[in-house]
């Protein structure tokens, strides 16, 4: 039973992670604030179109954190407590985003609208990239020591330590992590561009975004393929579920994809959807390009995250001592808690339904300058 629930919860956490990557179209859209949206009106349209959705992304990030804490508390403890600076920088980037929408155009905002636009840009560019770097550590590991029984050392009871003073910032210098970060950013930006094309009633912005999708979308696809090649040729770490012994396995993630079958099917389907979405934008009206591409990205990211831990794989490897690596078996919550949380997860479809309803109500009509100047609008 616990084996099933550990995998069930990794599936849920991975889905939340995949949804987060897709919902970071908001971050991708914010990265257009400097450069693409040139005049005041374009910036106002961009900020307001994204502003109707930013909280959904933010809430998904918070829920992702909560779900990881509830289901895999040892990861929460080891990664957050160890890769301190990486997570603190991510936090800062999201804190400055949260206030920027509401404050940017308000009188008396002290810092001036330009500062809030820079905040949104920084969050859009580096927030998404660093989330990607953090996801990369599922495959490259971290430099930590973990021993639960350290709690019995009364003078120094800390159960996990990072073994270098960079505390997670060194993850940015790992080529695989950096590549993952860039791919996540490009995915976000591609979706951001498609969202602007779909949602904003401004010909000049649409023309600019359509031409940028051709470059960004292609760069995203090429780097995504390189990322997959790097992933499938990496050495992963296999765990024996009985003994807990961890050993290196060449091409582990490729094996995971092939052995578990359905993540492989999801990855292929996701890739096809991304190509289809980008293709419809370039070669036809592109009315549904955003949704098709976003669906493809969710499936592809979901399958990659599943691959990180399924098929008896250590999902957070200790580069100091691989036997201290985290697996689904040694890092999860108890059977009771996983069961309780499984019941709670039955509420997720209801949440999805009302989110879909609200999304539809607010995106039924494109946003135009006239709408924003109407009496009833709450303008960012």
């Amino acid at each position: 039973m616990i084996y099933f629930l550990q995998h069930y919860w990794w599936t849920i956490v991975s889905l939340l992670g995949a949804l987060l990557v897709a919902l970071m179209f908001v971050q991708g859209g914010q990265s257009l604030l400097l450069g693409t949206a040139r005049n005041k009106e374009e910036k106002m349209l961009l900020v307001n179109a994204l502003g109707h959705k930013w909280e959904l992304t933010f809430t998904t990030l918070v829920t992702f954190g909560g779900a990881v804490f509830a289901s895999f508390p040892l990861y929460y403890s080891t990664s957050f407590g160890g890769a301190y600076w990486l997570w603190i920088v991510i936090l800062f980037l999201f804190v400055i985003q949260a206030v920027s929408y509401e404050y940017r155009s308000k009188k008396g905002n002290i810092l001036g609208y330009r500062t809030y636009e820079i905040f949104l840009f920084l969050n859009g560019m580096f927030g998404s990239m660093l989330i990607g770097v953090a996801v990369g550590t599922f495959f490259t590991g971290g430099s930590f020591v973990m021993d639960k029984m350290s709690i019995t050392e009364t003078f120094k009871p800390t159960i996990s330590y990072w073994t270098n003073s960079w505390h997670g910032l060194e993850a940015i210098a790992v080529p695989f992590n950096l590549l993952m970060g860039i791919v996540v950013f490009l995915a976000a930006r591609t979706l951001g561009l498609l969202y602007v094309i779909m949602q904003i009633d401004s010909e000049t912005l649409k023309v600019k975004c359509k031409s940028q999708v051709k470059v960004t979308g292609v760069a995203f696809v090429i780097l995504f393929v390189i990322l997959l090649a790097a992933l499938f040729t990496r050495t992963g770490y296999s765990v024996n579920p009985e003994s807990g012994f961890i050993a290196p396995v060449q091409y582990k993630y490729f094996h995971n994809m092939v052995d578990t079958v359905w993540p492989g099917i999801m990855l292929l389907t996701g890739t096809v959807l991304v190509l289809w979405g980008l293709g419809t934008n370039n070669f036809s009206s592109g009315k549904n390009s955003f949704y098709i591409t976003a669906g493809g990205i969710v499936l592809a990211v979901w399958s990659i995250l599943l691959c990180a831990a399924f098929n008896n794989t250590a999902y957070f490897v200790s580069n100091y001592d691989i036997q201290e690596s985290l697996t689904l078996y040694n890092s999860s919550s108890s059977l009771f808690t996983l069961k309780v949380m499984a019941y709670v997860s039955l509420l997720i479809p209801a949440v999805v339904v009302y989110i879909a309803y609200v999304w539809r109500a607010l995106t039924r009509k494109q946003i135009s300058s006239e709408d924003l100047n109407s009496q009833d609008s709450h303008k960012y």
Binding site: T59, Y76, F80, Y84, I151, T158, M341, L362, R364
Partner: protein, 525 residues
């Protein structure tokens, strides 16, 4: 030196973030319900006046909401970044309410927020009203799950320690989710938010009256907020009594600190007003036993005879242990089964805690060596002493005593201001009823001054709850020094400075925007 250790700095960082978060959240919660009531008036009456009124308060709400969210995520992540030992030791229990908050409440709040602000011309009136109510309910639900998590730290229930995983594990979800401490804490906190929201509405409206602007808007806003506030403050005082009763049962050291009570007695009086002799607390901190013995606890005090015994134990002659009694033990108390027992001294608890910690280490060694008998013996020792597990990390008496002056004065500030707000709402409604509120200058000034006072009251309550439970992150089971992450003090100090600068700038921006919104007034709608 204070604030040089990793533990002190981690505490300071969490306190800074939590207090900053708590500036914005109560207004969001309280105002959310007041706005929902106003919009209900609009939908039922069809009068544009109510729409305009609701929309003005929504502007105030929106400026607060954003910054509340921004600081909330820091708190969630800090359990991992700064309290990683804690995150493992109790993550099996503590993580669940946080995840439920996200799934059940936060999504509701943030999703319908979009309709509330951007949906006026996109959905029907009733759908919009429902969304506004759902935002308010979502914020309350969100608070519930966060307070379930907080209450569990102060009154751990529904769990068992698992020596194989070296952590506490949940065995009874409902004991965690509906613990009496959680339920009372929720009502006490949410009612505090209601009162705060009501005072802010009354205060801002009074400013308009003072400026002779927006009379109808202001008077109707005041009427709704004052009724809402009066009902809330009465219930708040009731839950405050419940809270004091629970503290007496579950956290006697916190109660002793709240009262500055060093030596307990039967029929203990309640200090209504008083001034502590700080030399006594200093002597305790400095391990100066002679000075501690000689110094009197108060410089002066006015007390209500036997009231503390009654409030804490519903018995005017009950014995209320003081700080000394809790250190020395030996007094009779009613245990969780309802039977009388003799309290252990701190020294005995420390020894018992160390037995538990050593037994866990021995158990682990025995399991690794395949020594079943040794494992069984260690497990029994651990089980018998686990209730004192956290004491094993402590060394001396000062370790279990919170900052008495801080808790004592915060408690009095909270209680005195609580009484003041009861009077404030009664006077407000009386003046409104007599139609004098528009002309009564002294009242208008008092109402404006009441805005900072309600924030002071709210923060003081938080200090009593959190500073009063020190040194425990989890009552009796894990002290703060055993909860922190393995990061350096300098790293935490750097983040404190960064957070402080960021928070200061954001607060200044928030207040500046808010003042502009208020200055512009509802007419701008």
């Amino acid at each position: 030196m204070f604030l040089t250790t990793l533990t002190d700095l981690s505490r300071l960082q969490f306190a800074l973030t939590a207090m900053f978060h708590w500036i914005f959240v109560p207004l969001t919660i309280g105002l959310g319900f007041i706005i929902a009531i106003m919009e209900t008036y609009y939908v039922r009456s069809g009068k544009d006046f109510w729409k305009r009124t609701a929309k003005f308060w929504m502007k105030v709400f929106a400026v607060n909401f954003a910054i509340g969210i921004a600081t909330g995520i820091i708190l969630e992540f800090q359990f991992g970044t700064n309290w990683s030992n804690y995150a493992w030791f109790v993550g099996d229990i503590f993580g669940a309410p946080l995840a439920i908050e996200g799934i059940v409440a936060f999504f509701m709040e943030s999703t319908f927020f979009a309709i509330m602000f951007f949906g006026w011309d996109k959905v029907s009136k009733n759908t919009h009203l429902t969304s506004t109510w759902l935002v308010a309910i979502g914020s309350a639900l969100s608070a519930y799950w966060i307070l379930v998590a907080n209450a569990w730290m102060q009154y751990p229930a529904g769990m068992e320690f698992n020596p194989d995983t070296a952590r506490n594990e949940m065995v009874d979800f409902w004991a965690v989710a509906t613990s009496p401490v959680a339920v009372n804490k929720f009502f006490h906190t949410i009612l505090n938010a209601f009162v705060l929201g009501a005072v802010v509405v009354v205060g801002i409206s009074s400013w308009y009256l003072k400026k002779k602007r927006e009379e109808e808007f202001s008077r109707k806003s005041i009427k709704i907020a004052a009724i809402f506030g009066l009902v809330s403050i009465v219930l708040l005082i009731y839950t405050g009594d419940g809270s004091a009763y629970q503290v007496a049962q579950k956290q006697p050291m916190k109660l002793a600190a709240m009262e500055g009570l060093y030596d307990g007695q039967n029929g203990t009086p309640l200090v209504a007003i008083g001034m502590l002799n700080n030399k006594k607390f200093k002597a305790l901190r400095d391990n100066d036993s002679l000075g501690f013995e000689l110094e009197k606890p108060y410089l002066f005090q006015i007390s209500v005879p036997k009231a503390l015994s009654f409030l804490g134990y519903r018995d005017i002659n009950a014995f209320v242990p003081g700080i000394n009694d809790l250190i020395k033990g030996g007094y009779k108390y009613k245990d969780s089964t309802g039977n009388y027992a003799i309290a252990q001294s701190l020294e005995e608890k420390i020894i018992s805690g160390r037995i538990a910690i050593n037994a866990l280490a021995s158990y682990n060694k025995a399991i690794k060596a395949g020594d079943d008998e040794g494992a069984s013996t260690s497990k029994k020792d651990l089980r018998d002493n686990f209730h004192n597990f956290g004491y094993g990390y402590l060394k001396e008496s000062k370790d279990i005593v919170p900052n008495v002056p801080l808790v004592f004065y915060s408690f009095r500030i909270m209680v005195i201001l609580g009484g003041y707000f009861l009077l404030f709402f009664i006077v407000t409604l009386w003046l409104e009823q007599k139609e004098k509120i528009g002309r009564c200058k002294w009242y208008q000034i008092i109402a404006i001054i009441s805005i900072p006072l309600v924030y002071i009251c709210s923060q003081a309550g938080w200090i009593v709850a959190e500073a009063g439970r020190q040194p425990w992150t989890i009552q009796d089971l894990l002290p703060v020094q055993a909860s922190v992450s393995g990061v350096s003090s300098s790293a935490v100090l750097t983040t404190i400075i960064l957070f402080f600068i960021l928070f200061s700038v954001l607060l200044a921006a928030e207040l500046s925007i808010l003042f502009k919104v208020i200055h512009k007034g509802p007419a701008s709608n």
